[in-house]
């Protein structure tokens, strides 16, 4: 495990006593967990276990009912989504959320939004410096497009891509923000075997470049292959949180999946 540098907390994300209810349904209940800096951590659990709700709480889409979320040593509880993005959390979506009518490159360029700052008036008047910033945005966007191997598709309309490429593009867009923490919501959903392997490779490659990754995924092969920690949720509660090989043999986990073979990778 990578240790934090002096002055940096070892845990990039700390969640304490987090709860969220929708009406009478407890989606997340009294949840505590941490994400150490520099690792890949997976969250698994049966459908309706609260995984996506948890993501939406971290990303600020839903307000937190109770508890605290501390990111990189500072509380992000109660911040709005764009403020959380500015702190260094990027994400992908379970159902792909691309800017469909924009080109592939433009999608990634939006990913550079928080890494650029020129305002409407200076841009409209083309004040000095705006051209340079635009060029820098484009260059970095191309870099991340090449990173996922889609440089040749830069000028295609994002909505016209096949699903596998759309998911990769979403990944590049999130990476382009150069986040500290990347939330991936089912990166392999809907992908075939080759595409899933490709996704695993890209996720590992992103981690090597220094991004901490928290992912929700149903594909157990993928989870066991790339994660250093696996947390299991069931009915909004944590029932396991450990190294993959330990989690795989945990009786409570096996029980929660009720006969579903999660370990035979």
């Amino acid at each position: 495990m990578i240790q934090g540098q002096p002055g940096q907390p070892d845990n990039l994300l700390e969640v304490a006593s987090l709860s969220k209810a929708f009406g009478g349904l407890l989606a997340v209940f009294d949840l505590d967990f941490t994400v150490p800096r520099g690792i890949i951590k997976a969250i698994i659990g049966p459908n309706g276990a609260g995984k996506t709700t948890l993501f939406n709480l971290i990303a600020g889409i839903y307000p937190v009912d109770e508890g605290r979320i501390v990111f990189d040593g500072r509380s992000i509880t109660g911040l709005r989504p764009h403020q959380i993005a500015r702190r260094g959390i990027a994400r992908t979506f379970q159902t792909v959320e691309l800017f469909r009518e924009m080109t592939v490159l433009e999608n990634v360029m939006v990913g550079r939004h928080i890494r650029s700052r020129k305002g409407a008036v200076s841009l409209g008047l083309k004040l000095p410096g705006t051209r340079r910033e635009e060029a820098a945005i484009k260059e970095k966007a191309r870099y991340f497009l090449d990173f996922i191997g889609m440089g040749r598709k830069a000028d295609e309309e994002a909505g016209s891509l096949p699903l596998g490429e759309q998911k990769r593009l979403e990944f590049a867009r999130a990476l382009a923000a150069e986040p500290k923490l990347l939330l991936l919501d089912e990166p392999a959903a809907g992908l075939n075997e080759t595409e899933t392997e490709n996704a695993a490779r890209l996720i590992s490659k992103a981690r090597e470049s220094g991004v901490t990754i928290l992912l929700v995924e149903h594909d157990m092969n993928l989870v066991m292959q790339i994660s250093e920690q696996v947390m299991v949720l069931n009915y909004g509660r944590k029932i396991a949180d450990d190294r993959p090989e330990k989690v795989r043999n945990d009786p409570e986990v096996v029980n929660a999946y009720l006969g579903v073979d999660i370990g035979d990778a």
């Binding site: 993005a85 800017f99 009518e101 924009m102 939004h113 928080i114 409407a120 083309k126």
Partner: protein, 322 residues
């Protein structure tokens, strides 16, 4: 800004430069005056198209911003002897401040709260124009608004005003084209594509919508000031809800999400009554019919005509799909 826009801009500039020649033709001498009104109207519709097409919001109050600019300039210059340029700036500041006040609460919410808020705002402003007699001279309006001048050069002929208005309109067009092809333009389009993803990428969606609203209000206010100094007489009816609705129509007819369409829409709707004058009292019927046809067959606006026509030809030609 892209090559196509540069070509379009040059073509439009050349067209506008030569357009006054048409005024020399007998029977067409008033065309320059109508075209000046088109320029003023286009300043408002361009900003509105940004608001409607990119921020996905409707304003029913832009006639009021137009009126605020006109009345600020008219009152301050004609009644208080202020120089026209600081008077224009006063109108701009007033409009921007009011846009923030109206826009901030309603654009933080999803849905069409801005339409409702601007509807009320437009009515309030209209009532003020009519009722605050000591300041606005009420329903009668007032005249004797001075001409604009720059360094002793007076815009004192119809032709000079034409070039002034279109000069300003083209500068606004360049400003908007620059803006659209920038990180702010991309942010606006991303909101249109997926608001959830835009927020996740750090785009402050509410603030961008407010900014677009402010920009469009300022453009309408400048148009109003220029109108006051051009016509030199103002009275309330020009700035009523009817005109706000007409502005929306122009944007939709021209084609939303396209500032070029906004200019085209302004030109068509402004010139139509002139072209339908031979129908006398029935002109309103023809007017309605034309709008209906455009809405039915060109739902994406007049600018989509070439694409739609090409598609039709392709489908009808033997051999079908290419």
């Amino acid at each position: 800004m892209g090559r196509r826009n540069l070509i379009g801009l040059s073509a439009l500039a050349l067209f506008l430069l030569l357009f006054p020649l048409i005024g020399k033709v007998p029977g067409f001498s008033h065309y320059v005056a109508i075209m000046t009104v088109v320029g003023l109207t286009a300043m408002i519709t361009m900003g509105l198209s940004l608001l409607m097409g990119y921020a996905g919001q409707i304003s029913l109050g832009h006639a009021a911003f137009y009126g605020l600019g006109a009345y600020a300039s008219g009152i301050l210059t004609a009644k208080y002897g202020m120089n026209p340029w600081p008077a224009l700036l006063t109108g701009v500041v007033l409009s921007a401040v009011l846009a923030v006040v109206i826009g901030s609460p309603s654009l933080k919410l999803r849905g069409h709260y801005l339409a409702m808020a601007t509807l009320a705002f437009g009515e309030i402003v209209y009532i003020i124009f009519n009722s605050w007699g000591s300041l606005t001279s009420g329903p009668d309006g007032f005249g004797d608004i001075p001409r604009l001048s720059v360094f002793g050069f007076a815009f004192d002929t119809a032709l000079r005003n034409y070039y002034l208005v279109w000069g300003v309109a083209l500068l606004m067009l360049v400003f908007l084209l620059n803006l659209i092809h920038s990180r702010v333009g991309r942010a606006l389009r991303s909101i249109h594509g997926s608001e959830a993803a835009a927020m996740a990428m750090g785009v402050n969606t509410a603030w961008y919508k407010i900014q677009v609203f402010i920009i469009s209000a300022v453009m309408a206010s400048i148009a109003g000031s220029l109108y006051a100094h051009y016509v030199r007489f103002i009275n309330p009816p020009v700035f009523s809800l009817t005109f706000s609705i007409k502005l929306l129509m122009m944007v939709v007819i021209g084609g939303m999400t396209n500032v070029w369409g906004a200019i085209l829409g302004a030109a068509l709707i402004t010139f139509l009554p002139e072209w339908l004058i031979f129908l006398q009292d029935f002109d309103i019927l023809a007017y309605g019919l034309i709008l209906l046809l455009i809405a039915m067959f060109l739902p994406k606006g007049l600018l989509s005509l070439p694409a739609v026509a090409r598609e039709q030809v392709r489908r009808r030609s033997p051999g079908g799909a290419r």
